[in-house]
Point group: C2
């Protein structure tokens, strides 16, 4: 990516074409490539992008669940987004991504559901105030400890819970806190936020201090911010905090929170992750 | 429900008929009726029941997301459960419930996704040990502070965070802990566990100490237990803990954990809930 490039890599990845309402085509981009497929967060963001671009959309994203059913291969894919029920202030969507399989026939790689909603001003409160942490400028950018291209698309400044430097089975916590933003910086929107909810490396690597194969099976993101608040957040950093609750029989869960620099919760997220031992 | 009744009310509610693979018919039952429709947990359990009964099912439930798109009315409904992708050790499902609308045409009331998986023995750990709380016998059964029939289907013994007795806007916490089990007692299975993940009254009632209209929009349950562990848990109590993280613009989230009496995490759950002010 050079400075002459006219389109941000995230916008390049989120580019969808549509000739029939609700039917989209897109393609994976090298910029967000992980080890054997795209970064899961970019797939989540792409699904949400289809909803954002749909002419029948009501309101803004409230909830997103993405199920990673199979590997998405390099190349083109089709995406279907359907508003199955529209109420006065909420709308329910079902989505899927398909890609040609080995025999050329379409195969479901990803399923998702989205709820969009019209937000109103109400009483509000937080039960998860932002933890007291050093400011982004006081935290050093992460060393790239494993080689996946998508890691270069984020500026990450860990506060605590960095990737272990010794893979000695000596872990004792699953908690990571880090400042993050798109690289290069890009004004925050719902798609970018959805992707960042999946930025954390597998909790088992930290808790176990062993780098075993792991991959998200299902992720859910709840959006607590409206578009105005995201616009106010702009290109500022987000503080992300993630930890596991339970590791058992090849699966662990992760619960995560994302605040902006002003200390406002923008999203909460949960995922269930496969790990191999 | 009398003692002569030969079928447990939960099994009555979960009864589904199927003549075509993946197509089910069921009906709401009075036993789990809430204020304007069935208890959301029983709808979640019913969707999972369709997967449990499907002849093509691989493995056991790992993840369940239910989106409450519209009110389910009293009477019959149809339920569709489709395994859209089957891998070696995981299987991805999409589900929906439909019911005849005012004009007789079918309307989507609920959508869901489920992941089932084959569990293997691996290294495991918990980062959420069960809190130290009094034993179930030391906690008094809840007084029925609001009148919904479904509340009688559970024995609830609150530890902390009971329903306020004064609706004075004086709340300061959103945390509830309670012991719970089916009433009458019934050996635990995946469907019963899914329902119990939704047992907590709306967090806004506690945090705000104001009883405003509220309803779950989307719930996700991650199952950390296999069938063997559920069978071991049997008719014992579960400790449930729920709290909100953020209340804003008419929606709050809830994060919950359920342990058995031996202190093992059986499920973690998250939901996003509408509230009106």
């Amino acid at each position: 990516m050079t400075s002459h490039h006219s389109i941000h890599p995230l916008d390049e990845a989120l580019a969808l074409a549509s000739e029939t309402t609700g039917q989209y085509t897109g393609r994976t981009t090298p910029g967000y490539w992980n080890m054997v497929g795209p970064f899961g967060g970019i797939t989540a963001a792409t699904l949400l992008q289809a909803v954002m671009q749909h002419p029948a959309r009501l309101g803004e994203p409230l909830s997103l669940t993405v199920n990673y059913a199979g590997a998405l291969g390099e190349g083109p894919f089709t995406l279907q987004a359907t508003p199955v029920r529209t109420n006065r202030s909420t709308q329910h969507w079902t989505l899927s991504i398909l890609q040609a399989g080995a025999d050329g026939a379409p195969v479901v790689t990803t399923t998702a559901t989205v709820v969009t909603a019209v937000r109103r001003e109400t009483w509000g409160a937080t039960d998860t105030p932002m933890p007291a942490v050093p400011a982004p400028a006081q935290c050093k950018p992460v060393r790239l400890a494993f080689r996946s291209e998508w890691l270069r698309r984020y500026e990450m400044r860990p506060v605590t819970g960095e990737l272990p430097t010794q893979w000695d089975d000596g872990g004792h916590t699953s908690m990571t806190q880090l400042w993050m933003r798109d690289a290069p910086a890009r004004p925050l929107d719902f798609c970018a936020l959805a992707a960042m909810a999946d930025i954390f490396f597998p909790r088992v690597w930290l808790r176990r201090a062993r780098q075993v194969p792991a991959g998200t099976v299902s992720i859910t993101v709840y959006f607590h911010a409206g578009g105005d608040l995201l616009a106010q957040t702009g290109t500022g950093y987000l503080l992300g905090q993630a930890r596991a609750q339970e590791f058992r029989n090849g699966f662990f869960d992760q619960t995560a929170l994302l605040w902006n620099e002003a200390g406002i919760v923008l999203a909460t997220s949960h995922q269930i992750v496969y790990y191999k031992e």
